[in-house]
Every structure is written in C-alpha cells, then in structure tokens.
Symmetry: D2
Subunit: 139 residues, 4 copies
C-alpha cells in the first residue's frame, strides 16, 4: 500500500473559538498530504497541471472527526493511495495528534480532467509508471 | 421538512488557481448555512454556546462535488434538518449556482456536548421545542 | 467622497481560540468590501478581469486593530475610494461592530495590471467614467 | 538583531484565481513565522497563553507586496524582532521566493494583554530574559 506521512502544526489562525482546529480546515490538511504524497512519488501536482495539462478536481470528500485538533499540536498527516483507475484517484487520509492518537480519517476522490478540454481523461502514463514502480519496490 | 436558504457570494479569496471555489471552503458554507438555519428557527448558535453551555462539534462530514463554484457567483445554500435525536443533529446541505444548478450536496453530523464537562449531553429543551413548533406550523 | 457599506457576519470558522475574529481574516473583509463598492458603482471586479483584461493586484496593506471582532457580530464594512490615478486605486476601509464602534481601519493600494502583458496599465475608461459620474451625482 | 527563518510551501488552497498566493493569507504566514521565532527562542506562544496567562493581540499590520507568490513555491519566512518594550513587541517579516527574491515585507505590532483581566500588562520576565540571553550569545 503506497503511503506517505508529513507533519503539519496547528496554527492559531486555524483554531476556532472552541479552541480547536476548525472542522473546515481539515480538507486543506488533506490537500497538503496528497500533494506531498505525489512529490514523494516523483511527480509534483504543479507539474501535472503545468506540463501534463491535467487537473484533479475533487469529486467527493468524506471524513469523520474522532478527537479535536489542539492548537500548536504537530499533526501527522498520513496519505494512502486507495484506488487508482482510468478515471481517478482515491486517497485515504488519517490525522494523528502528537500523542499518536487518531484525530480524523477520511477519503477524497479526484478525477483526471484535461485542462484544455475540461473533460475527463486518462491518467498521465508517467504517473501510472511511477505508481507501478513504487509498488514493485515495496513488493 | 425543516429547511432554510441563504445566499453567499464566492469571493476572490475563496477561489483557487483553477479559478473555482476551493474544495476546502465548502465546509465553511455549510457552517454559515446551519447557523442561519438555527437563527431562523429562533435560536442562535452563539446562544447555544453562551447561554445553554452546549457546543456542537462536528462528528462527520460528507460531500460530493457536482459542478465547480465560479468566482462572484451568488450561491444558494439550502440547509435541511435531516435528523434530530438525543445525541445530535444531522444537517443536509445543498449548494446551487446562480443558474439554479446543483453544485454540491452533503451532510454534517454534529453532537451535543456540555461545554463544562466536555461530555455528550441531551439537546436543550428550548431547541427541541422550537423544532417541534416549527414542524407543527409547517404541518 | 465615494463610499459604500456592506454587512458581514463573523462566522465560527473566522474566529480563533482567543474567541475573536482572527487578525488574518480582515484582509478578506476588505476584499469583499471593495468588490461590492465596485458592483455598486456599476462595474464588477469579475468584469474588469474577464472583459477588460485588467487585474488589480494589491501593492500594500495597512491596518490597525482597535476593538476585537466578536463571533456572530454583524460587522459593517465601509469602503471609501481614497485615491484614483493613472496607476492604481487606494481604498480606505473601516469596520464597525454591531454597537457602532470602530473595530478596525486600514488602507489597500492596488495597481492596474494588463492581464495579458502582466504590466502596469491605465485604468479602463469605463471605470473612470463611472467614478466621475458618481462624483457628479453626489456633488 | 534577533531573527529566525522558516520555510512554508504555497498550497493550492492558498492560491486565488490569479494563480498567486492570495493577499489575505500573508498575515497567516507572518503568524507562523513569529510563533516559530518564539519557539526557537525557547518559549512557545501556547505557553505564553496557557502558563503565563498572557495574550498578544495584534495592534497593527503593515505590508507591501513586491512579487507575487507562486503556487508550490517554498517560501522563506524571515521574522525579525524589531522592538520589545513594556507594552508590546514589533516583528518585521520578510518573505522570499525560491529564487531568493523578496516577495513581501511588513511589520506586525502586538500588545501584551493579561488574559484574565483583558488589560495591558508587562511582558513575562522569562520572555525578557530569553531575549536578553539570546542577544548576549549573538553579541
């Protein structure tokens, strides 16, 4: 299973008056997680857009909130490639607090879209190859 | 079915480089929708926190993205009370663009939590009464 | 003096753990204020970009914070055209809380930029005319 | 001169439809910069609030925008302690793009406020000591 972890600290601007990470900011953590997943794989999301003319609009987002995110906590964002097909990608994301407890878990489904025609398109071969290669390395 | 509609315009700061309403901002639209639903019912969310010492943390969030949100579009946010029980509330939210087409639809599940003990609690009787009364009026 | 007022409510997502409107969100209020100033004048910012191919990047932002913004307060955002010249626009913005007390005041300087050449350009004649006409009406 | 640098990458959610880092997000970069300045000095902002019961509300914010922030650029945020007195702190912040060019520079003035009385207060002695010690080390 291909996965990647990054750390991101909960900033003051991301808290709300309850004192916790505002529920609306988790999707941003998910974005940062999957962008770094791709960079780690060998392909930046920027390059997908700029060089391959492929965009990945989000089709669905599901998440459940298990523990509140605390100010200044250094969150671990684990991003897992869950599905990869001719039409899109599904990433599972799990957030853990500094104590290692699960805070939040969810799933984002993205489609491949040709940025010139704005229509669905197959994934870039280079991306598919990077995924296949990584899977082989990981056995 | 209890529901309420508000309008909210897509600001520049809410767009992303794709030119659309960034997917991570929809949860904020949902929040504004349900807060105005409650105000319209006769109870502000602020009063729930300040006077009733009840918080409504989000337990889950699910949404699907149907059409991209365009800059400066005046979005209709329809908030529907979907479930109301001893432990929490479920709101369904639907977003429509200026052309009246569905953009996004989803569901947020919130729990009643006593802000002093930080434990689950029953809903305030006043809120339950407001909902019952409104249901009777709507027949 | 050309000015325009809108109302905007402080949402939960805009508060921080101090319980106040996070200082980083005021610039967003300023943006919404000046976009509605322009719409009220007869020209949408969207049209400036789409039809006139002119962008208005921000060159400087100055603000002072007088009173904290409270959750759920219905803020008055007053936007005042302060300077209008061959190179740019300066808007002054003042925010008032529900009690009518000043919360925040500041100034944003924007440049006219041709979105095709990405170089400075004169303001669209139609915009200059709208401003002149409004000034005449106001005497 | 006491200063500290961190890196922060421009995320998709922080861009706007111009394709650049939205002007309203810079204040958030400034916040992250000064919080890490303090951590590096030996005092977390969280501890200031939780242990010393001192808050640092922002009194003024000034910034000028020199070059647009690009998506996915790894920005250097340099935070410089500019003033430290009985009533507050002034931080200067400079943002540099990956090419090392200045993007943005500004200044934030914060006050010391006792979180229990909500009145101005002197800075915590421990913070003053940390600053003095660091100055001595740097000569």
């Amino acid at each position: 299973m291909l996965q990647h972890e990054i750390k991101k600290r909960v900033s003051y601007g991301e808290t709300d008056k309850m004192g916790y990470l505002y529920y609306g900011h988790y999707a941003h953590y998910y974005e940062i997680g999957r962008v770094e997943f791709l960079r780690n794989l060998g392909m930046t999301y920027k390059s997908l857009e700029d060089d391959y003319k492929v965009m990945l609009p989000v089709k669905s987002l599901n998440m459940r909130f298990v523990r509140a995110g605390q100010y200044d906590d250094l969150i671990t964002v684990r991003t897992i490639l869950s599905e990869y097909s001719a039409t899109g990608i599904v990433f599972k994301t799990e957030l853990y607090n500094e104590a290692g407890k699960i805070m939040n878990a969810g799933e984002v489904r993205l489609a491949f879209v040709d940025s010139e025609t704005m229509r669905g398109c197959p994934p870039p071969q280079d991306l598919s190859d990077l995924i296949e290669n990584r899977k082989k390395i990981l056995g």
